[in-house]
Every structure is written in C-alpha cells, then in structure tokens.
Symmetry: C2
Subunit: 349 residues, 2 copies
C-alpha cells in the first residue's frame, strides 16, 4: 500500500482503490417478484410484486417499473427527494438498457448508464463510491434490475415454448435493488453505520465457455481473478472478510470458483456465499443452478447482506457481482461468453 503515502493517489495494487473518506450507504431498497418473495429471503424485501407485469403491458415496461419503484423507495427511506441525488448510476440486462432508460427518466437525475451484465450493481456501487469519496457528489443512487420473462425473451426462448432447462441453467431474478451512497452519515436508521471501504475493478476474463445455460462456469474465472487481485492489492487473507459474496455463480459456478481459487492456494470454502444460491430454494422452487440477473445480487445485498451488517452479524464483506458478457447475437455467431466481476468492500462500523 505504498502509494497511499501520497495523499493524491488513492489506488493501491493493480486494480483496487482504498477510499480516504469511505462513502456511507445511507439507504437501500429491494423490490422483488412473486417467486423471489416465496424464496428463503422473501420476508426481507421491502416490496413484493405479486403481478409479474407490475400493471404494465410488456415485460420490459414491467422491469422499468420495478426499477422506478426501487429507486423511489431508496430515496423515500432516506427521507430525501430526487433533487438531493447528484448522480444516478444504473443498468440492466436488456439491449440498449431500455429497462433503465424508461425506468429512471422521470427521476430527472444526471445519469450514467452502465453495462456489466449481472455485475452491474458492483460497477454502479464502484463508480458511485468514487464520485462520493472524490467530492464530486454528496449523494448518488445506484440501481439495477432484471426480470425473468424479459431476460428469457432477450437471451433464451419465448416462455410459451416451455423448453426444458438443464441443471446448470440459472433462473433470472425478477426485481430491482437500489442503494444511496453519501458523503455524510445521514442515515435515519439506528445501529452500526455501513461504509464502502474500497473496490477492486474487474478485467474481462474469457475461458472459452459458450453455453448460456451454464453462465456460472463463464463467470467463475472472472470472480476468481477479482478475488485473487483484491486479496493481493489489500494484502489480506480470505478470513479478512466475514463473507466473500459472489453475485450469481449459482451452484455450478460456485464450485468452480472454489476449485479455481484453490489452484492459487486461496481457500474461501468456509466464508463464501453466492446470492444466486441464497435467493431461491433450489429443491422446492425448481430453480436449478440458482438465481441470476442484475437484480439477484442487488436485492440479496440490499435485502439480506446489509441487514446482517446492520445487525452486527457480519463486520466486513467483499461483495462482488458477477456478469456474463454475451448477447443473443454473439451466442448465435458462436462466440464465447467472457465474464467480469466488480468487487466492493463493505464494512459495518
């Protein structure tokens, strides 16, 4: 961490930043779909939308509405108004981010659109933290969404086909999660304060996986690389974190991640958690490899992880949403599925 001596240099190691003035997470919201509401974390979400169309005419509009509700809920919970938010950082899985554009347009907040596939919440929280730590904003809003039906239509098969899904396939989470990052701890909740202490930004990793029904395998190498780099950059061991929380590797990808890290003599088997494994009951809910989508990590983080930190059950976590950077077109053209993972260090004080 020698660069830290120079106050103007805020980065450390190869790919990380340690914040001088770690941003506070002053508010968070989770809007979940019906199936997510019926899962193990169901009771923790702010809102459960029983109607998959959320009162709209299309899946895409439904997803926009989920994002709008999550953004507004986070602002409302913080006792703020739209005008208090300096930047909005958001993204989703749909081509040209239409769930986002139509979801957040009305908020009229200066907007940076982000795409990191299912890693987008990590990307949004990373850039959001930089904006706040650097003095470019007092408060920023990071929000992502996904919708099972919209994602199936976008990436796989029309729902009406009723196609069979292999056990390595994941189930896209319907929902949206939002956090507000702030310079001052103006949270109106009691308990410990929650801060983003640092980030490790991922590189694109491509191990040649081509099966969109096995995204866990495509993303595991990226998660491995980001975790390895985080530990190296900060000079810590895996047990520095109470939990190392991947986004949506699911059952297949999580096993691969643990094996890949063992090749580097890094053992995270005792403190690894994957949002994709937590959000559904694999047996009862027929969700095969687990949950996925931008909302998988977003609502698990806002609904579950933050509460564990608030309640003092965990003190420090490494949260790293994972994304598979493929499209219907790239898949049909025979391209591989590169992965990426963006890590955020979140601590309770």
């Amino acid at each position: 961490m020698s660069e830290k001596d120079n106050k103007k240099t805020k980065y450390i190691g190869k790919q990380s930043i340690e914040f001088n003035d770690p941003p506070y997470i002053i508010s968070a919201s989770s809007v979940a779909g019906k199936k997510e509401g019926e899962g193990p974390l169901g009771s923790l979400f702010d809102v459960i939308q029983e109607d998959p169309m959320v009162g709209k005419d299309t899946w895409e509009e439904a997803e926009s509405e989920l994002m709008k509700q999550a953004a507004e809920k986070a602002i409302e919970k913080a006792g703020l108004s739209n005008k208090d938010i300096r930047y909005l950082l958001a993204g989703d899985l749909l081509g040209q981010l239409i769930a986002t554009s139509f979801g957040v347009a009305e908020l009229q907040i200066p907007f940076f659109g982000l795409f990191g596939a299912c890693s987008t919440m990590g990307e949004a929280m990373s850039i959001g933290s930089i904006l706040v730590d650097g003095g470019y904003a007092d408060k920023v809003l990071a929000v992502t969404s996904s919708h099972f039906a919209g994602a199936e239509k976008q990436f796989r098969f029309p729902l009406d086909y009723g196609n069979q899904r292999p056990y390595s396939a994941s189930w896209t989470v319907t929902g949206s999660g939002a956090v507000i990052l702030a310079k001052q701890n103006c949270s109106n909740t009691s308990g410990p304060t929650i801060r983003v202490k640092g980030i490790t930004t991922g590189k694109i990793m491509d191990y040649g996986i081509k099966d969109p029904m096995n995204m866990g395998a495509a993303m595991a190498p990226a998660a491995c690389d980001t975790i390895k780099q985080n530990l190296e950059d900060f000079g810590v061991k895996p047990d520095h974190y109470d939990k190392i929380i991947t986004g949506d590797l699911g059952y297949v990808g999580s096993d691969i991640l643990i094996d890949l890290l063992k090749e580097h003599n890094i053992d995270i088997s005792s403190n690894h958690m994957d949002c994709g494994k937590e959000i559904f009951d694999q047996e009862k809910q027929d969700t095969h490899a687990g949950g996925s989508g931008c909302a998988c990590s977003a609502i698990t983080f806002t609904g579950f992880v933050l509460k564990q930190l608030k309640e003092g059950k965990w003190k420090r976590v490494l949260f790293l949403p994972t994304g598979s950077l493929h499209s219907k077109v790239s898949y049909n053209e025979g391209a591989t599925m590169p992965g990426i993972a963006h890590a955020v260090i979140v601590e309770a004080e």
Copy 2:
C-alpha cells in the same frame, strides 16, 4: 461557483463539475471505415479500413476489431503499454455491448462498460476525467465504436432489403475513436496541451419522439438541456466556447436544437458544429441527415476537433455527444425515444 471555495466540493451548479486538476488528453486515435475515409475529414483519420468486415466473419466482430485497433493505436501513439492504463471506459451500440467486450477483452485492463447510446464518448470521457482528476488513476482510456452494418442489423432492416431511407434518417459511422486521459502532461506531441476542464452530465429527456428514422429530433431536447445547464452552471455565455460541438444531431436535429435554445434566449447559431454534419458530404455521399453512432462523435473529436485545438485554431470547445436511448424492442412496443447528452469542456493551453 460558490461551492468551489470548499476544496472538497468539486461540483458546481446543478449538473456540472469543474476539475481542480484538469486531466490532460495525451493521446487520441481514430480508425474509420471506407465511406468515412472518403468524406470531408478522411485525410485526418489515423487508419482507414477499406474492408467493411475488417478481415472478420461478422459485422459484430468487425466492430470489435475497429475498437481494438483504436485502443491499441492510442496506447501506441502515447508510447505506453496496456499495463500503464489503470481503467478502460468503453461502450458501443450493440445489445449487451458485445462489440466492446470482444474488442477490449485482450487488453486486460480493469474495465467499466458504459451505455449512453451515441453519447457514450461523452460519458466515457466524463467518468475518465473524474478518475484522473480525483487521483484514482494516472491514465485511463476512453473508447467507443459503431459500425454501419451492425447498427442497421440491430436497429433497422437487414442491408439486403435495400430499403429506402427518409431524409431525416442518419447514417451510422463505421469506426472507433479513443483518447487517453492522464494526470501528467506526458504527451509526446508538440504544441498546446489539451485538458478537460469540466463536465456537465445529462439527464434523460423524453419529448415523445417515436421515429428511429429521425433520431436528431429525439436527441435535440437532450442537447438543449445539457447546453443550457452547462452555461448556467459555469455562468458563461455561448461565445465562451469557440465551438459548441454536438455529437450526431445531423441536419434535422441541429436545426431543432438551435430553435429550442432560442426559446431560452440562447443563440448558438454562430458557433455550433455537429459531428454528424461534418463527417460526410451530404450531397455526394447520400447520407441524408448526416452521420450518427458512437463513432461519429468519437472519430470527429479525435481526428478533427483535437487537431483544431492543437493547431491553435480553437481555444475552448464544449463537446457533447448525443444519444437516443431506444432499442428495437422498445420501438416495436411503441415506446418513445428518450435522449441524453453528456458535455465535456476541452481547452488548449
């Protein structure tokens, strides 16, 4: 600009940042397609690719190759290697940014994927400047691309249809432009140094336009809003800038922009320039409303605008790429086309 008194606060007005330590543009590159090479700016581009497939098998791979070449060219021109670049900020128009992911994966630079449609170069240079000014990076690379054939396939009709295009339709630019932003002026070129003095980040503006063959009309309100806000936030008049340079409003959108600003008593008719109008010869090249696409503003900026600043012809410009936030799906579902524009103040010293 009262907030400036507090050194920790770097933002001004409603939507702008004035950099304390303005990043230097130390290198830039432009890779253009054949048609762009035959246009009025043809002699200014670093590379002209005569082959629309750039030696690849698909339009998408061709676009990835353009971006890879632009990124590598900018790094090479600066006498740097990939390892010297702390962050890569990039995006394109294709669903799930596949031109970008496959184009930059090999560079192995920590990567933030961005989507602002054709405004992406403004977004990438904005976030890149924040990273450098804030001390989070010594050098960052911002790159965007587009490809005529890939965009037609994505948004409109297969080329083989040979469909007629209305005069309000724009022609997507084939190419890729890249800039390297740096903390130190380590440019190895002579002449004035070029710095990013500030940014104004756009909000999503939706005036209800629904015709993807008239994107200029969809984007003009966003350009109007960002310019108006920039002038207000910095407390300056339009003649503060030698040029106010929009991305790809084209002939139709540019006229609308000038009219919209006049309603606010702002007259930019004497110093407005639009990259979409500059890049093609409207009459000889049958390009109707002008050029568009992420590469339109990117290569016009890197190939033409920066040279005008370097040669002392202009001293200060407001560069604001403009984007139309629609997709094939949103269009087919009858949705509107919201627009966004991200402004960057670039000065020669």
